[in-house]
């Protein structure tokens, strides 16, 4: 039983990172109908920025919590700026173009970011300095570190904050209005360009936090790390119903847990025929099943109406 609970905890921590990245996909899709394939790479840029800043600051001998906060802030700042500029330079000129054009542009931006990162940071694995030695919390048979707990709680706080922002603030209402119909929202006095820029800014900032979490948790980063992370998060977004913010959160958590449990039990379930190396297969199998039986995702209702 404690093994099951441990796998559940592993899955929730992993899932909370997926969920944060998935938010970026789903928010942009909700408003523009665009799958921003560069989003995973924006998270990568955030992760590597934080890593570099942390290395530099730790070498200067600053206290660990300060290093952590400053490097996270640097990552958020860089990614927000990056997200907004990508939208301005690459997507806005194509806003009225056929849908395929911005999609392919997104893939191009993704490759551009990856290889720019390879030029800046090199292609080798970089190690994050161990800022705080995570201390263990053992509850029953379940082991987790304070870092894991922190990642999970921070992710939940960010998601809660984002939901509140979208549902209860003026800017959030403008976002929802733009999501329903950008032209009508514009006629009602909503500055659509600002709303879209804000969406990219929020998504990228949240993605940066997710990237920082990844390097903190695994202690390792490299220029290609955004690819798989982005793919998984995109899966999570689709799983939850792309365009639906709560759906992205649910999808992320679910994907993390499914992956974790699948790795833990696939060998036993198949009598040893399939091993733990099939874990990614399992994650994408879940996606296919959801798409077959519920094409709009778990929480996605409105997606089918969009033209």
């Amino acid at each position: 039983m404690d093994i099951f609970l441990q796998q559940l905890v592993n899955g929730l921590v992993l899932g909370s990172i997926y969920a944060l990245v998935a938010l970026g996909y789903t928010m942009v899709y909700g408003i523009l109908g665009l799958i921003n394939f560069a989003h995973g790479d924006i998270c990568m840029i955030g992760a590597l920025t934080a890593l570099t800043v942390a290395q530099a600051l730790a070498a200067m001998g600053l206290p660990a919590p300060l290093v952590l906060v400053l490097s996270a802030l640097a990552a958020v700042a860089v990614c927000s700026a990056l997200g907004v500029s990508i939208e301005r330079a690459a997507y806005r000129p194509l806003r009225r173009a056929p849908r395929l054009a911005p999609l392919i542009t997104a893939i191009g931006v993704s490759i551009l970011l990856q290889y720019s990162a390879a030029l800046i940071w090199g292609k080798q694995y970089l190690s994050m300095p161990e800022l705080v030695k995570p201390s263990e919390i053992a509850v029953g048979g379940v082991h987790l570190t304070d870092l894991q707990a922190f990642i999970f709680l921070l992710a939940c706080a960010i998601m809660g904050g984002l939901l509140w922002f979208i549902r209860s603030t003026r800017a959030g209402r403008a976002m929802r209005a733009t999501e329903q119909n950008p032209d009508v929202a514009g006629l009602m006095g909503v500055n659509v360009n600002h709303v879209i820029a804000l969406t990219f800014l929020l998504g990228s900032a949240v993605g940066a936090v997710a990237g920082v979490m990844v390097v903190l948790y695994y202690g390792i980063g490299h220029y290609f790390m955004g690819f798989m992370l982005g793919l998984k998060a995109f899966t999570a977004a689709v799983l939850g119903g792309i365009g639906n913010v709560a759906g992205a959160m649910l999808g992320g958590m679910l994907l993390g847990v499914v992956e974790s449990l699948a790795t833990g039990y696939i060998g036993d379930l198949t009598g040893g025929v399939l091993g733990s190396n099939y874990r990614d297969v399992f994650a994408f199998l879940v996606l296919i099943l959801v798409l077959v039986f519920r094409p709009s995702g778990l929480l996605g209702e409105r997606v089918a109406d969009r033209t």
Binding site: Q6, P134, I220, G264, S276
Partner: protein, 390 residues
């Protein structure tokens, strides 16, 4: 079909030309001999691949400063370094490129998964290849006359680790993980067979990939089986986070692996959790190699960094080629290839001789342990005649 006569004519011309050259050797003429170096120069394993290339480069510099004459002609060596990205497909492209640029011999590749497919291309072209590091047994079992290696292979390394686990660590229940590569899986399989034969129980056999960094789920599963020891067949970018996550999950079992994780980088990636981790590596400890301390100093002076792993093997591989060329009196691959098999060379890594398959005879294996953030040699085992014959 149409091209065949043209090729024949070309060949005939080439023969005539080279014949002319030999009849009237110009005393002042310096022949340039190209040596290929193929290893991953980018990607997660770049640090190890660059290490090998540096070893080759050092050897070529030393050879050139000795002003060698082979077959009565002054010879200048030149390195052609290629990046195989640790990717089997890329490795064959690189191999073809080296063959096309007329290298006399190749040092490479690093990964078994790259060396094996590339070896066919070198074999077809008749170009000798010495891998400084590929330890998968299959590499020399293909019946190619051109494949050699200057490390002990996994049928020696895996069992050595296995015997060490059972006899010295007294492990009774063991979990085995591999990274699904030719190297990792080969090493893990050989290890598993030995510990099973030795009476230990393999309680879990798990697989990951050489790109993953999350092992929590696998490790949690293993924790449920309560092993005394975990063995990982793979490379340091995975081993580092794995050891860290093992500590986070409260797994107290010992951890050991092969040469792919016996690097300074592993300790950096694993942090404090690296303490007490063991890994074997073919060859003597760098410091105990007959030519070790001099080589380490020379390397540090030139590259301003420590030897990661296989630079001494890369260096010796070049020297073995040159030694064979000297004895054959020729830099033609066809002429000096038979001499490589007869090598009796005292290299940086120790005495080098090959068996009929091209494997290093009596390659020693050393087991290391991390103590106070540094790899320290624990024990050196020479597999001996029975290990080499397998």
């Amino acid at each position: 079909m149409v091209r065949a006569p043209a090729v024949a004519v070309g060949l005939a011309f080439a023969l005539i030309l080279s014949g002319c050259g030999r009849e009237a050797p110009k005393p002042s003429g310096v022949a340039t001999v190209k040596i290929g170096a193929a290893s991953p120069l980018t990607g997660p394993q770049a640090h190890i691949g660059i290490d090998i290339r540096n070893g080759v480069e050092l050897a070529i510099e030393d050879a050139n400063s000795a002003n060698l004459e082979i077959g009565g002609r002054k010879v200048k060596f030149e390195m052609i370094a290629e990046d195989d990205e640790a990717n089997p497909t890329k490795a064959t492209t690189v191999a073809q490129k080296l063959v096309d640029s007329k290298v006399a011999a190749v040092v490479g590749h690093f990964n078994s998964g790259a060396s094996i497919p590339a070896s066919k291309i070198y074999s077809d072209a008749g170009i000798p290849q010495i891998s400084p590091s590929s330890t998968n047994p299959k590499y020399t079992l293909q019946g190619f006359k051109t494949t050699f290696r200057v490390v002990a292979h996994d049928d020696q390394q895996g069992p050595t680790l296995g015997r060490f686990a059972i006899e010295k660590l007294k492990a009774r229940t063991i979990a085995v993980i591999d990274d699904s590569t030719a190297y990792g899986q080969g090493l893990a399989d050989a290890f598993e067979a030995t510990v099973k034969a030795g009476g230990a129980k393999v309680v879990a056999r798990e697989h990951t990939t050489d790109k993953d960094t999350d092992f929590k789920a696998i490790l949690t599963r293993i924790r449920g089986r309560k092993p005394d020891l975990l063995m990982f067949g793979g490379i340091d970018p995975q081993a580092g986070p794995m050891v860290k996550q093992m500590a986070e999950l409260g797994i107290k079992a010992k951890f050991m692996g092969g040469d792919g994780m016996q690097t300074p980088n592993f300790i950096k990636l694993a942090g404090g959790a690296a303490e007490g981790v063991m890994a074997s590596i073919p060859g003597l400890p760098k410091e105990q190699m007959p030519g070790g301390s001099a080589f380490l100093e020379k390397y540090k002076a030139k590259y301003k960094s420590e030897v990661e792993l296989f630079a001494p093997m890369g260096y010796d591989a070049v020297m073995v080629f040159i030694d064979a060329m000297k004895r054959a009196g020729s830099t033609e691959p066809a002429k000096f290839l038979p001499e490589i098999g007869r090598t009796r060379y005292q290299g940086v890594i120790g005495p080098i001789a090959f068996d009929g398959k091209g494997d290093l005879v009596n390659g020693p294996i050393t087991i290391y342990v991390v103590k106070r953030g540094k790899w320290e040699a624990l024990e050196t085992v020479t597999p001996g005649a029975d290990g080499a014959k397998k």
